[in-house]
Amino acid sequence: MDNNITISTQSALPDSGAGRNSEKRSIALRSLLPGKAYQRRRKLVQGAAFGLFRLAALVNGLALFIIVYFMVNGGWTAINWTFLSQPPRDAMTQGGILPCILGTLYLSVGAIAIALPIGVASAIYLNEYARPGRVLRLIRLGINNLAGVPSIVFGLFGLALFVVYFGFGVSILSGAMTLAAMSLPVIIGSTEEALRAVPDTYREASLGLGATKWQTIYGVVLPSAMPGILTGTILGISRAAGETAPIMFTAAVFYTPSLPTSIFDEVMALPYHIYVLATAGTNIEATRHLQYGTALVLIVLVLGMNLVAIIYRSHLRRKL
């Protein structure tokens, strides 16, 4: 170490002269440490960087707040009992959105009814049965890629397979199956997380008592994982409820004169209704409040379900 230089920088600082006579030894020791100015700069850099990180997080929170604020601000006046309980009237410039709410409900619940059993069973295989190897890798690759398929491609797939090839037509069934295919990776992911959270000692205790693997899964693992699976289900429903592109060609239509009576009927849906009113309605400006109102109903529905799931999940995590 070059002591001379370090000491000279030390003496340039105002307080370094004070103990010069009595504590030569301590100066020699201190000289090995970086100078105060350097320390201050490091602190400054850290402060600036942390400020930047905080700012980034703030921007995200702000974005969420701004979007929700403007939707609430524009939409709350449109919402009343008539709006929620009546079908649209006068070429969709008056009246309510009841058929859209019901349509979205049918589609998302239908989708989860199909995707949940398949998703949970897949997760059980991946987490309980499968051994590491090429097969597992392949299945995981399939799930990851399915999760990455664009929503509009799911729409094309649903059109080609369910609507045309199976001949279901534009219907609740086609839409729900398309949405089910899309939400499958979400369900598998959250179920796997729930299964992983079950301690291995539970399994070992059950197996030790002479239960078979299936008995262990059915009687011990699944009941313990049930709350986690339920959370995933809520998230899956909310995801399916908000999707537009997959149902554009498979289930949703501009307008239906009556409520659907069977799973082979076409439906109106909240997201598609917003899109139609905002881009292709007869009078886009005059229905602005209806657009905001519909968007607000959709947001409340989706964010409400998500909030419930998030709160429930953090409650569960704290308990474990």
């Binding site: 602190k43 990180f53 997080a57 399939g142 398929v149 929503s151 592109a245 997201p271 953090s314």
Partner: protein, 297 residues
């Protein structure tokens, strides 16, 4: 030999395996139907003219099926949105994982998750009725529905993906590494920058790629906000027509199994291949540069 219990076990094993392969079956079905409905396109237009033709006039007579402007639109929207979402997403992840106190984290994390759960059509609607007029007056543009607006909206859709996967990667960096760095006298920021971030780099790269894959495949936002002009953009304030927007807006009018219908499915193939590529690269990075434990770092 096999008693009933063993038989049930064997049956269940096979049953779960069959169900678990549903995902891959669906993926294969998607490919099968995309290709069977899309490949007939190449009987009336060559692959080269389809991919690199700069005129997309599917309804004029004779029609032009060149999706080059659509591909350029998709790629430019994705890149521009990535320039906004990568810094924001990664910095937020670092904040959540390294700096935030648990109490603050418990507020910020759900906020990011809720941002992810906002339906795309709502974000598109927001961009259309509020951001577009704003951009139009601020930058004095002919239309606020353009490449920049779409990228901005897409950025906020891909931030949650980038943020949550990056955060997982940062969390999995062993605490011992941080402690070692701090013990050597590094500040918390130096530790984050020089030790934690490099250790989590493969996970963060995966996050970035998946975020971009989400942006390129997103439909409703680009359908409502990008402007819809099938031209190669000259500036970031030009209206564009990315591939998903083209498929979504034209499929309803395309005559069933006509040339236009096939061409839209072929566009779907191109889009699918783009996201497939993104996902395979992400998967490769994840496995090739897997952070196994402290010893391998």
């Amino acid at each position: 030999m096999a008693n009933p219990r063993q038989q049930i076990e064997r049956t269940m094993n096979v049953f779960f395996f069959v169900v678990a392969s549903a995902s891959i079956t669906i993926l294969l079905l998607i490919m099968l139907f995309l290709f069977s409905e899309g490949l007939p396109t190449f009987t009336f237009v060559s692959v080269k003219d389809f991919l690199f033709g700069i005129y997309w006039y599917p309804t004029s007579d004779p029609p032009d099926f060149g999706i080059f402007p659509l591909i350029v639109a998709s790629v430019s929207v994705t890149i521009l949105s990535a320039m906004m979402s990568i810094p924001l997403g990664v910095l937020t992840a670092v904040y959540l994982s390294e700096i935030a106190t648990p109490r603050v984290g418990e507020i910020v994390k759900p906020a990011v998750e809720l941002l992810a759960s906002l339906p795309s059509v709502v974000i598109g609607f927001f961009g259309m009725v509020l951001v577009a007029p704003f951009l139009q007056t601020v930058f004095d543009l002919p239309t606020g529905l353009n490449l920049f607006n779409a990228s901005l909206m897409l950025a906020f859709m891909s931030i949650p993906t980038i943020c949550s996967i990056s955060e997982d990667a940062l969390h999995s960096v062993p605490t011992a590494l941080r402690e070692a760095s701090l013990a050597l006298g590094a500040t918390q920021f130096e530790t984050t920058l020089r030790v934690v971030l490099p250790a989590a780099l493969s996970g963060i790269s995966t996050a970035v790629i998946l975020g971009m894959s989400r942006a390129i495949g997103e439909t409703m936002v680009v359908l409502m906000v990008a402007g819809g002009a099938a031209m190669v953009p000259g500036s970031i304030f030009d209206p564009v027509r990315p591939m998903p927007a083209s498929i979504a807006s034209e499929m309803a009018e395309a005559p069933f199994r006509g040339e236009h219908y096939y061409a839209l499915f072929a566009t779907g193939i191109v889009l699918f291949l783009f996201t497939l590529l993104f996902n395979i690269v992400a998967d490769y990075i994840q496995h090739r540069f897997k952070q196994v434990g402290e010893a391998t770092l």
